[in-house]
Symmetry: C2
Subunit: 247 residues, 2 copies
Protein backbone atom coordinates (compact mmCIF):
# COMPACT_ATOMS: atom_id res chain seq x y z
CA UNK A 1 0.00 0.00 0.00
CA UNK A 2 1.59 3.23 -1.17
CA UNK A 3 0.37 6.49 0.35
CA UNK A 4 0.29 9.26 -2.22
CA UNK A 5 -0.92 12.32 -0.32
CA UNK A 6 -2.36 13.43 2.98
CA UNK A 7 -4.61 16.38 3.70
CA UNK A 8 -6.08 17.20 7.08
CA UNK A 9 -9.15 19.32 7.75
CA UNK A 10 -11.56 19.58 10.67
CA UNK A 11 -9.63 16.93 12.55
CA UNK A 12 -9.85 14.35 9.76
CA UNK A 13 -6.82 13.01 7.91
CA UNK A 14 -7.60 12.00 4.31
CA UNK A 15 -4.87 9.91 2.69
CA UNK A 16 -4.94 8.80 -0.92
CA UNK A 17 -3.30 5.44 -1.52
CA UNK A 18 -2.77 2.82 -4.18
CA UNK A 19 -2.56 -0.92 -3.77
CA UNK A 20 -1.32 -2.30 -7.05
CA UNK A 21 -3.52 -0.54 -9.59
CA UNK A 22 -6.39 0.04 -7.15
CA UNK A 23 -6.68 3.67 -5.99
CA UNK A 24 -8.13 4.26 -2.56
CA UNK A 25 -8.63 6.75 0.22
CA UNK A 26 -8.29 6.34 3.96
CA UNK A 27 -9.95 8.69 6.45
CA UNK A 28 -9.02 8.65 10.11
CA UNK A 29 -8.83 11.00 13.07
CA UNK A 30 -5.82 13.29 12.53
CA UNK A 31 -2.76 11.90 14.31
CA UNK A 32 -4.47 8.65 15.25
CA UNK A 33 -2.28 5.80 16.43
CA UNK A 34 -3.27 2.41 17.81
CA UNK A 35 -6.12 0.12 16.86
CA UNK A 36 -9.60 1.33 15.96
CA UNK A 37 -12.80 0.21 14.23
CA UNK A 38 -12.66 0.24 10.45
CA UNK A 39 -15.47 0.74 7.96
CA UNK A 40 -15.03 -0.21 4.31
CA UNK A 41 -17.22 1.97 2.11
CA UNK A 42 -18.24 1.27 -1.44
CA UNK A 43 -19.63 3.85 -3.86
CA UNK A 44 -22.59 3.55 -6.20
CA UNK A 45 -22.39 3.02 -9.94
CA UNK A 46 -21.04 6.04 -11.81
CA UNK A 47 -19.54 7.48 -8.61
CA UNK A 48 -16.08 7.12 -7.10
CA UNK A 49 -14.18 6.76 -3.82
CA UNK A 50 -14.57 10.44 -2.90
CA UNK A 51 -18.25 10.86 -3.70
CA UNK A 52 -19.70 13.60 -1.47
CA UNK A 53 -21.85 11.20 0.56
CA UNK A 54 -18.86 9.01 1.39
CA UNK A 55 -16.65 11.95 2.34
CA UNK A 56 -19.28 13.39 4.67
CA UNK A 57 -20.05 10.05 6.32
CA UNK A 58 -16.37 9.15 6.71
CA UNK A 59 -15.71 12.51 8.35
CA UNK A 60 -18.52 11.99 10.85
CA UNK A 61 -17.36 8.48 11.73
CA UNK A 62 -13.74 9.59 12.11
CA UNK A 63 -14.37 12.74 14.17
CA UNK A 64 -17.31 11.65 16.29
CA UNK A 65 -16.35 8.03 16.91
CA UNK A 66 -12.65 7.72 16.11
CA UNK A 67 -13.20 5.26 13.25
CA UNK A 68 -10.97 4.65 10.26
CA UNK A 69 -12.87 4.56 6.97
CA UNK A 70 -11.56 3.36 3.63
CA UNK A 71 -12.96 3.54 0.10
CA UNK A 72 -11.60 2.34 -3.24
CA UNK A 73 -12.60 3.09 -6.79
CA UNK A 74 -14.59 0.17 -8.19
CA UNK A 75 -13.36 -1.26 -11.48
CA UNK A 76 -14.20 1.13 -14.31
CA UNK A 77 -14.86 3.98 -11.88
CA UNK A 78 -13.07 7.07 -10.60
CA UNK A 79 -9.41 7.07 -11.61
CA UNK A 80 -9.57 3.57 -13.10
CA UNK A 81 -9.67 2.77 -16.82
CA UNK A 82 -13.06 2.06 -18.33
CA UNK A 83 -13.61 -0.93 -20.61
CA UNK A 84 -15.70 -0.48 -23.75
CA UNK A 85 -18.57 -2.15 -21.86
CA UNK A 86 -18.10 0.30 -18.94
CA UNK A 87 -18.36 3.15 -21.46
CA UNK A 88 -21.50 1.77 -23.05
CA UNK A 89 -23.32 0.82 -19.85
CA UNK A 90 -24.89 4.18 -18.78
CA UNK A 91 -26.33 4.77 -22.25
CA UNK A 92 -27.68 1.21 -22.42
CA UNK A 93 -29.47 1.66 -19.11
CA UNK A 94 -30.74 5.07 -20.16
CA UNK A 95 -32.24 3.61 -23.33
CA UNK A 96 -33.95 0.77 -21.45
CA UNK A 97 -35.40 3.22 -18.91
CA UNK A 98 -36.56 5.52 -21.70
CA UNK A 99 -38.41 2.71 -23.46
CA UNK A 100 -39.80 1.25 -20.23
CA UNK A 101 -38.01 -2.06 -20.62
CA UNK A 102 -36.67 -3.93 -17.55
CA UNK A 103 -33.18 -2.80 -16.60
CA UNK A 104 -32.57 -5.26 -13.82
CA UNK A 105 -31.03 -8.10 -15.90
CA UNK A 106 -28.60 -5.74 -17.61
CA UNK A 107 -27.67 -4.04 -14.31
CA UNK A 108 -27.13 -7.43 -12.68
CA UNK A 109 -24.92 -8.70 -15.50
CA UNK A 110 -22.73 -5.62 -15.65
CA UNK A 111 -22.32 -5.15 -11.90
CA UNK A 112 -21.64 -8.86 -11.30
CA UNK A 113 -18.67 -8.63 -13.65
CA UNK A 114 -17.35 -5.63 -11.70
CA UNK A 115 -17.90 -7.43 -8.39
CA UNK A 116 -15.88 -10.43 -9.51
CA UNK A 117 -12.86 -8.16 -9.82
CA UNK A 118 -13.65 -5.94 -6.82
CA UNK A 119 -14.01 -8.61 -4.14
CA UNK A 120 -10.35 -9.76 -4.21
CA UNK A 121 -9.28 -6.13 -4.43
CA UNK A 122 -11.18 -5.28 -1.24
CA UNK A 123 -9.71 -8.30 0.56
CA UNK A 124 -6.17 -7.26 -0.36
CA UNK A 125 -6.91 -3.69 0.75
CA UNK A 126 -8.25 -4.98 4.06
CA UNK A 127 -5.07 -7.04 4.55
CA UNK A 128 -2.96 -3.93 3.99
CA UNK A 129 -5.14 -1.65 6.15
CA UNK A 130 -4.93 -4.02 9.09
CA UNK A 131 -1.14 -3.82 8.96
CA UNK A 132 -1.22 -0.06 9.55
CA UNK A 133 -0.36 1.23 13.01
CA UNK A 134 -3.43 3.45 13.22
CA UNK A 135 -5.86 0.58 12.45
CA UNK A 136 -4.47 -2.82 13.40
CA UNK A 137 -6.01 -6.26 13.07
CA UNK A 138 -7.89 -6.42 16.36
CA UNK A 139 -10.66 -3.87 15.87
CA UNK A 140 -14.12 -4.55 14.46
CA UNK A 141 -14.65 -4.11 10.71
CA UNK A 142 -17.85 -3.07 8.96
CA UNK A 143 -18.91 -2.68 5.34
CA UNK A 144 -21.22 0.02 4.00
CA UNK A 145 -22.24 0.10 0.37
CA UNK A 146 -25.49 0.51 -1.55
CA UNK A 147 -26.44 -0.24 -5.15
CA UNK A 148 -23.27 -1.30 -7.06
CA UNK A 149 -21.48 -1.37 -3.71
CA UNK A 150 -23.98 -3.97 -2.46
CA UNK A 151 -23.44 -6.14 -5.53
CA UNK A 152 -19.75 -6.00 -4.61
CA UNK A 153 -20.25 -6.06 -0.85
CA UNK A 154 -22.58 -9.03 -0.53
CA UNK A 155 -20.11 -11.57 -1.95
CA UNK A 156 -17.30 -9.75 -0.12
CA UNK A 157 -19.00 -10.04 3.27
CA UNK A 158 -20.01 -13.62 2.50
CA UNK A 159 -16.36 -14.52 1.86
CA UNK A 160 -14.66 -12.34 4.45
CA UNK A 161 -14.94 -13.43 8.06
CA UNK A 162 -13.25 -10.26 9.32
CA UNK A 163 -16.31 -8.13 8.47
CA UNK A 164 -18.78 -8.15 11.35
CA UNK A 165 -21.70 -6.01 10.15
CA UNK A 166 -22.88 -4.55 6.86
CA UNK A 167 -25.13 -1.84 5.44
CA UNK A 168 -26.52 -2.91 2.07
CA UNK A 169 -29.38 -1.77 -0.12
CA UNK A 170 -30.71 -0.40 -3.42
CA UNK A 171 -30.06 -3.82 -4.91
CA UNK A 172 -31.96 -7.01 -5.59
CA UNK A 173 -31.50 -9.74 -8.18
CA UNK A 174 -31.66 -13.50 -8.02
CA UNK A 175 -27.99 -13.68 -9.01
CA UNK A 176 -27.14 -12.31 -5.54
CA UNK A 177 -29.11 -14.95 -3.65
CA UNK A 178 -26.31 -17.45 -3.17
CA UNK A 179 -23.93 -14.90 -1.68
CA UNK A 180 -26.69 -13.31 0.42
CA UNK A 181 -27.57 -16.66 1.96
CA UNK A 182 -23.93 -17.01 3.00
CA UNK A 183 -23.97 -13.64 4.81
CA UNK A 184 -24.53 -14.31 8.51
CA UNK A 185 -23.48 -11.03 10.18
CA UNK A 186 -26.01 -8.30 11.10
CA UNK A 187 -27.28 -6.51 7.99
CA UNK A 188 -29.14 -3.23 7.58
CA UNK A 189 -30.85 -3.33 4.20
CA UNK A 190 -32.18 -0.10 2.67
CA UNK A 191 -34.72 -0.23 -0.15
CA UNK A 192 -36.45 2.48 -2.09
CA UNK A 193 -40.10 1.56 -2.61
CA UNK A 194 -40.22 3.03 -6.14
CA UNK A 195 -36.69 2.17 -7.27
CA UNK A 196 -36.55 2.42 -11.05
CA UNK A 197 -33.50 0.10 -11.16
CA UNK A 198 -34.49 -2.52 -8.56
CA UNK A 199 -37.87 -4.26 -8.78
CA UNK A 200 -39.57 -4.09 -5.38
CA UNK A 201 -40.14 -7.84 -5.22
CA UNK A 202 -36.49 -8.54 -6.04
CA UNK A 203 -35.33 -6.25 -3.25
CA UNK A 204 -37.67 -7.85 -0.72
CA UNK A 205 -36.61 -11.32 -1.86
CA UNK A 206 -32.96 -10.42 -1.37
CA UNK A 207 -33.65 -9.20 2.17
CA UNK A 208 -35.43 -12.47 2.83
CA UNK A 209 -32.42 -14.42 1.56
CA UNK A 210 -29.75 -13.03 3.88
CA UNK A 211 -28.61 -15.77 6.23
CA UNK A 212 -28.22 -13.30 9.10
CA UNK A 213 -30.12 -13.92 12.29
CA UNK A 214 -30.19 -10.16 12.80
CA UNK A 215 -31.20 -8.12 9.77
CA UNK A 216 -33.35 -5.05 9.39
CA UNK A 217 -35.17 -3.80 6.30
CA UNK A 218 -35.87 -0.09 5.93
CA UNK A 219 -37.92 1.00 2.94
CA UNK A 220 -39.12 4.44 1.91
CA UNK A 221 -41.02 5.90 -1.01
CA UNK A 222 -39.00 7.33 -3.85
CA UNK A 223 -36.54 6.38 -6.55
CA UNK A 224 -33.05 4.92 -6.57
CA UNK A 225 -31.34 8.22 -5.74
CA UNK A 226 -33.88 9.52 -3.22
CA UNK A 227 -32.84 7.75 -0.01
CA UNK A 228 -34.03 9.99 2.85
CA UNK A 229 -31.49 11.54 5.18
CA UNK A 230 -32.99 9.83 8.23
CA UNK A 231 -32.00 6.45 6.79
CA UNK A 232 -28.39 7.60 6.48
CA UNK A 233 -28.53 8.49 10.19
CA UNK A 234 -30.24 5.21 11.01
CA UNK A 235 -27.54 3.26 9.18
CA UNK A 236 -24.87 5.11 11.15
CA UNK A 237 -26.56 4.07 14.38
CA UNK A 238 -26.70 0.49 13.08
CA UNK A 239 -22.95 0.55 12.43
CA UNK A 240 -22.21 2.01 15.84
CA UNK A 241 -24.46 -0.51 17.56
CA UNK A 242 -22.79 -3.48 15.92
CA UNK A 243 -19.17 -2.32 15.80
CA UNK A 244 -19.06 -0.57 19.18
CA UNK A 245 -21.94 -2.25 21.00
CA UNK A 246 -23.33 1.29 21.47
CA UNK A 247 -27.06 1.77 21.96
CA UNK B 1 -62.80 14.14 31.93
CA UNK B 2 -62.59 13.16 35.56
CA UNK B 3 -59.17 12.72 37.15
CA UNK B 4 -59.17 9.84 39.62
CA UNK B 5 -55.63 9.78 41.00
CA UNK B 6 -52.18 11.22 40.51
CA UNK B 7 -48.83 9.67 41.31
CA UNK B 8 -45.47 11.25 40.58
CA UNK B 9 -42.16 9.45 40.25
CA UNK B 10 -38.87 10.32 38.58
CA UNK B 11 -40.29 13.63 37.41
CA UNK B 12 -43.30 12.09 35.66
CA UNK B 13 -46.88 12.72 36.73
CA UNK B 14 -49.21 9.78 36.00
CA UNK B 15 -52.89 10.65 36.26
CA UNK B 16 -55.68 8.12 35.89
CA UNK B 17 -58.83 9.55 34.34
CA UNK B 18 -62.23 8.54 33.02
CA UNK B 19 -64.16 10.07 30.18
CA UNK B 20 -67.63 8.59 30.34
CA UNK B 21 -66.96 4.88 30.71
CA UNK B 22 -63.53 5.03 29.06
CA UNK B 23 -60.64 4.71 31.54
CA UNK B 24 -57.40 6.41 30.62
CA UNK B 25 -54.04 7.56 31.87
CA UNK B 26 -52.17 10.79 31.22
CA UNK B 27 -48.43 11.12 31.69
CA UNK B 28 -46.73 14.50 31.69
CA UNK B 29 -43.72 16.22 33.22
CA UNK B 30 -44.48 16.78 36.91
CA UNK B 31 -45.87 20.28 37.46
CA UNK B 32 -46.15 21.02 33.75
CA UNK B 33 -48.25 23.99 32.71
CA UNK B 34 -48.73 25.49 29.28
CA UNK B 35 -48.98 23.85 25.87
CA UNK B 36 -46.89 20.87 24.80
CA UNK B 37 -46.76 18.08 22.22
CA UNK B 38 -49.14 15.20 22.87
CA UNK B 39 -48.79 11.56 21.89
CA UNK B 40 -51.81 9.24 21.94
CA UNK B 41 -50.70 5.67 22.62
CA UNK B 42 -52.66 2.54 21.96
CA UNK B 43 -51.92 -0.88 23.46
CA UNK B 44 -51.85 -4.25 21.76
CA UNK B 45 -54.54 -6.92 22.00
CA UNK B 46 -54.77 -8.49 25.45
CA UNK B 47 -52.86 -5.59 27.02
CA UNK B 48 -54.08 -2.39 28.65
CA UNK B 49 -53.36 1.32 29.05
CA UNK B 50 -50.54 0.76 31.55
CA UNK B 51 -48.72 -2.03 29.74
CA UNK B 52 -45.02 -1.90 30.67
CA UNK B 53 -43.91 -0.82 27.20
CA UNK B 54 -46.29 2.14 27.20
CA UNK B 55 -45.34 3.25 30.71
CA UNK B 56 -41.63 3.17 29.89
CA UNK B 57 -42.06 5.02 26.59
CA UNK B 58 -44.38 7.62 28.09
CA UNK B 59 -41.88 8.28 30.86
CA UNK B 60 -39.05 8.82 28.37
CA UNK B 61 -41.13 11.18 26.23
CA UNK B 62 -42.32 13.17 29.26
CA UNK B 63 -38.96 13.51 31.03
CA UNK B 64 -36.62 13.84 28.09
CA UNK B 65 -38.78 15.90 25.76
CA UNK B 66 -41.53 17.42 27.89
CA UNK B 67 -44.33 15.61 26.06
CA UNK B 68 -47.75 14.70 27.37
CA UNK B 69 -48.74 11.11 26.61
CA UNK B 70 -52.20 9.57 26.96
CA UNK B 71 -53.45 6.01 26.75
CA UNK B 72 -56.92 4.51 27.10
CA UNK B 73 -58.10 0.97 27.58
CA UNK B 74 -59.46 -0.36 24.30
CA UNK B 75 -62.97 -1.84 24.40
CA UNK B 76 -62.88 -5.21 26.15
CA UNK B 77 -59.44 -4.52 27.63
CA UNK B 78 -57.96 -3.43 30.95
CA UNK B 79 -60.65 -2.18 33.32
CA UNK B 80 -63.40 -2.41 30.71
CA UNK B 81 -66.05 -5.13 30.58
CA UNK B 82 -65.47 -7.98 28.17
CA UNK B 83 -68.20 -9.20 25.83
CA UNK B 84 -68.68 -12.94 25.34
CA UNK B 85 -66.83 -12.56 22.02
CA UNK B 86 -63.96 -10.75 23.80
CA UNK B 87 -63.78 -13.67 26.23
CA UNK B 88 -63.73 -16.27 23.45
CA UNK B 89 -61.27 -14.50 21.14
CA UNK B 90 -57.88 -15.53 22.64
CA UNK B 91 -58.84 -19.20 22.72
CA UNK B 92 -60.16 -19.03 19.14
CA UNK B 93 -56.88 -17.58 17.92
CA UNK B 94 -54.92 -20.12 19.95
CA UNK B 95 -56.81 -22.98 18.34
CA UNK B 96 -56.29 -21.63 14.83
CA UNK B 97 -52.55 -21.15 15.47
CA UNK B 98 -52.31 -24.66 16.94
CA UNK B 99 -53.91 -26.23 13.89
CA UNK B 100 -51.95 -24.07 11.46
CA UNK B 101 -55.04 -22.39 10.04
CA UNK B 102 -54.97 -18.73 8.94
CA UNK B 103 -55.74 -16.38 11.83
CA UNK B 104 -55.74 -13.15 9.89
CA UNK B 105 -59.45 -13.08 8.91
CA UNK B 106 -60.56 -13.77 12.48
CA UNK B 107 -58.13 -11.16 13.91
CA UNK B 108 -59.33 -8.61 11.36
CA UNK B 109 -63.01 -9.21 12.11
CA UNK B 110 -62.62 -9.02 15.89
CA UNK B 111 -60.30 -5.99 15.96
CA UNK B 112 -62.38 -4.07 13.40
CA UNK B 113 -65.36 -4.33 15.74
CA UNK B 114 -63.27 -2.94 18.59
CA UNK B 115 -61.94 -0.14 16.39
CA UNK B 116 -65.42 0.97 15.44
CA UNK B 117 -66.05 1.75 19.09
CA UNK B 118 -62.55 3.01 19.92
CA UNK B 119 -62.20 5.68 17.23
CA UNK B 120 -64.94 7.99 18.57
CA UNK B 121 -63.66 7.34 22.10
CA UNK B 122 -60.18 8.54 21.15
CA UNK B 123 -61.60 11.63 19.44
CA UNK B 124 -63.57 12.57 22.54
CA UNK B 125 -60.50 11.98 24.71
CA UNK B 126 -58.43 14.20 22.40
CA UNK B 127 -61.07 16.94 22.68
CA UNK B 128 -60.88 16.77 26.47
CA UNK B 129 -57.08 16.57 26.62
CA UNK B 130 -56.70 19.68 24.49
CA UNK B 131 -58.81 21.62 26.97
CA UNK B 132 -56.30 20.93 29.76
CA UNK B 133 -53.97 23.72 30.81
CA UNK B 134 -50.86 21.52 30.63
CA UNK B 135 -51.56 20.44 27.03
CA UNK B 136 -53.64 22.92 25.07
CA UNK B 137 -54.89 22.83 21.52
CA UNK B 138 -51.91 24.40 19.77
CA UNK B 139 -49.23 21.74 20.13
CA UNK B 140 -48.51 18.93 17.69
CA UNK B 141 -50.26 15.57 18.23
CA UNK B 142 -48.95 12.14 17.33
CA UNK B 143 -50.35 8.62 17.51
CA UNK B 144 -48.37 5.49 18.38
CA UNK B 145 -49.96 2.07 18.35
CA UNK B 146 -49.07 -1.36 16.95
CA UNK B 147 -51.17 -4.45 16.29
CA UNK B 148 -54.70 -3.87 17.69
CA UNK B 149 -53.70 -0.26 18.24
CA UNK B 150 -52.98 0.10 14.52
CA UNK B 151 -56.35 -1.36 13.60
CA UNK B 152 -57.79 1.36 15.82
CA UNK B 153 -55.24 4.03 14.93
CA UNK B 154 -55.39 3.85 11.15
CA UNK B 155 -59.07 4.87 10.89
CA UNK B 156 -58.51 7.32 13.76
CA UNK B 157 -55.65 9.10 12.01
CA UNK B 158 -57.53 8.98 8.71
CA UNK B 159 -60.49 10.78 10.34
CA UNK B 160 -58.67 13.10 12.70
CA UNK B 161 -56.90 16.08 11.17
CA UNK B 162 -55.33 17.06 14.49
CA UNK B 163 -52.94 14.08 14.40
CA UNK B 164 -49.78 14.97 12.47
CA UNK B 165 -47.68 11.78 12.53
CA UNK B 166 -48.21 8.13 13.41
CA UNK B 167 -46.32 4.98 14.34
CA UNK B 168 -48.19 1.90 13.14
CA UNK B 169 -47.27 -1.73 12.60
CA UNK B 170 -47.77 -5.44 13.32
CA UNK B 171 -50.95 -5.23 11.26
CA UNK B 172 -52.07 -5.89 7.73
CA UNK B 173 -55.40 -6.85 6.26
CA UNK B 174 -57.31 -5.71 3.20
CA UNK B 175 -60.08 -4.39 5.42
CA UNK B 176 -57.68 -1.62 6.52
CA UNK B 177 -56.88 -0.48 2.99
CA UNK B 178 -59.56 2.19 2.70
CA UNK B 179 -58.59 3.94 5.92
CA UNK B 180 -54.86 3.57 5.18
CA UNK B 181 -55.29 5.25 1.82
CA UNK B 182 -56.90 8.18 3.62
CA UNK B 183 -53.90 8.60 5.95
CA UNK B 184 -51.68 11.35 4.57
CA UNK B 185 -49.45 12.29 7.51
CA UNK B 186 -45.95 10.80 7.96
CA UNK B 187 -46.12 7.15 9.03
CA UNK B 188 -43.50 4.83 10.51
CA UNK B 189 -44.66 1.27 9.87
CA UNK B 190 -43.05 -1.60 11.79
CA UNK B 191 -43.41 -5.15 10.54
CA UNK B 192 -42.10 -8.43 11.87
CA UNK B 193 -40.89 -10.59 8.99
CA UNK B 194 -42.15 -13.82 10.58
CA UNK B 195 -45.31 -12.50 12.22
CA UNK B 196 -47.58 -15.44 13.04
CA UNK B 197 -50.64 -13.15 13.12
CA UNK B 198 -49.96 -10.91 10.11
CA UNK B 199 -49.14 -12.45 6.71
CA UNK B 200 -46.02 -10.79 5.32
CA UNK B 201 -47.67 -9.88 2.02
CA UNK B 202 -50.63 -8.31 3.83
CA UNK B 203 -48.29 -6.14 5.92
CA UNK B 204 -46.33 -5.02 2.87
CA UNK B 205 -49.55 -4.31 0.99
CA UNK B 206 -50.82 -2.15 3.85
CA UNK B 207 -47.58 -0.14 3.88
CA UNK B 208 -47.98 0.34 0.14
CA UNK B 209 -51.54 1.59 0.64
CA UNK B 210 -50.85 4.47 3.04
CA UNK B 211 -51.58 7.74 1.26
CA UNK B 212 -48.69 9.48 3.02
CA UNK B 213 -46.00 11.10 0.91
CA UNK B 214 -43.58 10.34 3.74
CA UNK B 215 -43.73 6.82 5.13
CA UNK B 216 -41.03 4.44 6.25
CA UNK B 217 -41.21 0.66 6.55
CA UNK B 218 -38.98 -1.10 9.06
CA UNK B 219 -39.05 -4.90 9.09
CA UNK B 220 -37.09 -7.36 11.19
CA UNK B 221 -36.98 -11.13 11.59
CA UNK B 222 -39.06 -12.63 14.36
CA UNK B 223 -42.62 -13.09 15.50
CA UNK B 224 -45.42 -10.74 16.49
CA UNK B 225 -44.06 -10.12 19.99
CA UNK B 226 -40.36 -9.92 19.09
CA UNK B 227 -39.98 -6.34 17.87
CA UNK B 228 -36.32 -5.44 18.49
CA UNK B 229 -35.46 -2.65 20.93
CA UNK B 230 -33.70 -0.62 18.25
CA UNK B 231 -37.01 -0.19 16.41
CA UNK B 232 -38.60 1.24 19.54
CA UNK B 233 -35.76 3.78 19.62
CA UNK B 234 -36.12 4.42 15.91
CA UNK B 235 -39.83 5.06 16.30
CA UNK B 236 -39.11 7.53 19.09
CA UNK B 237 -36.74 9.42 16.79
CA UNK B 238 -39.47 9.39 14.11
CA UNK B 239 -41.95 10.95 16.54
CA UNK B 240 -39.47 13.59 17.65
CA UNK B 241 -38.54 14.41 14.06
CA UNK B 242 -42.13 14.92 13.01
CA UNK B 243 -43.61 16.51 16.14
CA UNK B 244 -40.64 18.68 17.09
CA UNK B 245 -38.84 18.99 13.78
CA UNK B 246 -35.80 17.55 15.59
CA UNK B 247 -33.14 15.72 13.59
Amino acid sequence: MRFLSETTSNGVSERLFALGDVPGVLWSPAGATGGRPLVLMGHGGGWHKQAPGLVARAGRLAVQYGFAVAAIDAPGHGERPKSPQDERFPAEIGELLATGEPVSPQVARHTAALAERAVPEWRAVLDALQELDGIGADGPVGYWGLSLASVIGIPLVAAESRIGAAVFGLAGHESLAGAAAAVTVPVAFLLQWDDELVPREAGLALFDTFGSREKTLHANPGGHLELPAHEEEGAERFVLRHLLGAG
